[in-house]
C-alpha cells in the first residue's frame, strides 16, 4: 500500500494505491487515522481509485478506520470503488456501512450536508 493525504474543506482525503491486504498495511493505515484525529480531523474520504488490489484483510483495514472515526463522531467514506471492490462490499453487506462516491467533490460536500 502507498498513500497520499490531502485536506479539502476540513475533510481528509487519503489516496491509496498499490495493494491493500493486511500485514503491515494495517498499522500504517491506523497510524494515518490517528494522525488525523490528533489534528482534530474526523471526516475522511478514502480514494480507492489507485488500488490495484484488495482482499478481505484489506477491507478489514478500512473497517477499523471506519469504526475509529465513528467513535469520534466522524466518518470514513469511500471514493472510486472499482467493480471488484464493489462485489466484495456487496457480498459482505458492507456496502450498507460505507457510503461511497464516484466524485471527490460530492464526497467532500456530503460532510457539510449534515
Amino acid at each position: 500500500m502507498k498513500y497520499r493525504t490531502r485536506e479539502k474543506g476540513g475533510v481528509a482525503i487519503i489516496e491509496l494505491s498499490g495493494k491493500l491486504m493486511g500485514g503491515e498495511d494495517s498499522s500504517i493505515f491506523r497510524g494515518l487515522i490517528y494522525d488525523l484525529l490528533e489534528k482534530k480531523i474526523k471526516n475522511v474520504v478514502v480514494d480507492l481509485g489507485g488500488l490495484s488490489w484488495i482482499n478481505s484483510a484489506g477491507m478489514g483495514i478500512l473497517i477499523s478506520g471506519y469504526t475509529t472515526m465513528r467513535k469520534h463522531q466522524g466518518d470514513l467514506k469511500l471514493l472510486n470503488v472499482s467493480n471488484k471492490i464493489k462485489s466484495l462490499l456487496y457480498v459482505t453487506k458492507l456496502n450498507l456501512i460505507f457510503e461511497s462516491f464516484d466524485n471527490e467533490k460530492e464526497a467532500v460536500l456530503s460532510y457539510s450536508r449534515n
Binding site: G22, G23, W53, S56, G60, S64, N83, S87, V91, L94
Partner: protein, 140 residues
C-alpha cells in the same frame, strides 16, 4: 480432457498479485464474464491468504501450491499449505456475520462460500490443509 495449471510460490503477500493476474488471464482465456472472473480471483486470493497466514504462518520458506483445473463446464482450484489445519466443520456451521463491523477479520471463508459454487476442506496427511474451490461456468 481437463487442463491443469500449477503454481508454487513462497508465503509472501507480494505474490498474491501474481496469483490474481494469473486467475484473470485464465478466466479471460476461458471466455468467462468479468463478474465471474472477479469472483474466482477474489476467492482464490482469500484461500491463498489463509494458506499463507494461517497455514504457513507467513514463513517464506514454506510454499503455497495452487492447482487450477480447467474443465469445459467447471473450474476448480486447490490451494495447499503446510499447516495443521483447523476445525473447519465447526467453523462452517458458525460462519460469523460479515457485516459485523466489530470484527476486522473473518470474512474470507464467507466470501469464498458466497462467490463459488462449492468449497471444501481437507487435512492432507504429511502435508497440510487443502482447500478446494469450484465454480460451474456460464460462458459470456
Amino acid at each position: 480432457m481437463p487442463e491443469y495449471i500449477t503454481i508454487e510460490f513462497p508465503s509472501r503477500h507480494k505474490y498474491l498479485n501474481m496469483i490474481d493476474i494469473v486467475c484473470g488471464e485464465i478466466a479471460e482465456d476461458m471466455g468467462l464474464k468479468l463478474e465471474i472472473a472477479n469472483e474466482i480471483a477474489i476467492s482464490v486470493i482469500e484461500a491463498c491468504t489463509n494458506a499463507l497466514e494461517h497455514g504457513n504462518k507467513s514463513s517464506p520458506e514454506k510454499n503455497i501450491r495452487m492447482v487450477i483445473k480447467r474443465d469445459p463446464d467447471k473450474i476448480s482450484i486447490e490451494v495447499y499449505d503446510w499447516g495443521k489445519g483447523f476445525d473447519y466443520k465447526e467453523y462452517l456451521q458458525h460462519i460469523p456475520d460479515p457485516s459485523d463491523i466489530q470484527k476486522v477479520r473473518g470474512r474470507g471463508i464467507f466470501i469464498m462460500k458466497e462467490m463459488m459454487d462449492d468449497i471444501s476442506f481437507e487435512l492432507v496427511k504429511d502435508r497440510g490443509m487443502k482447500v478446494t474451490l469450484e465454480k460451474n461456468l456460464i460462458k459470456s
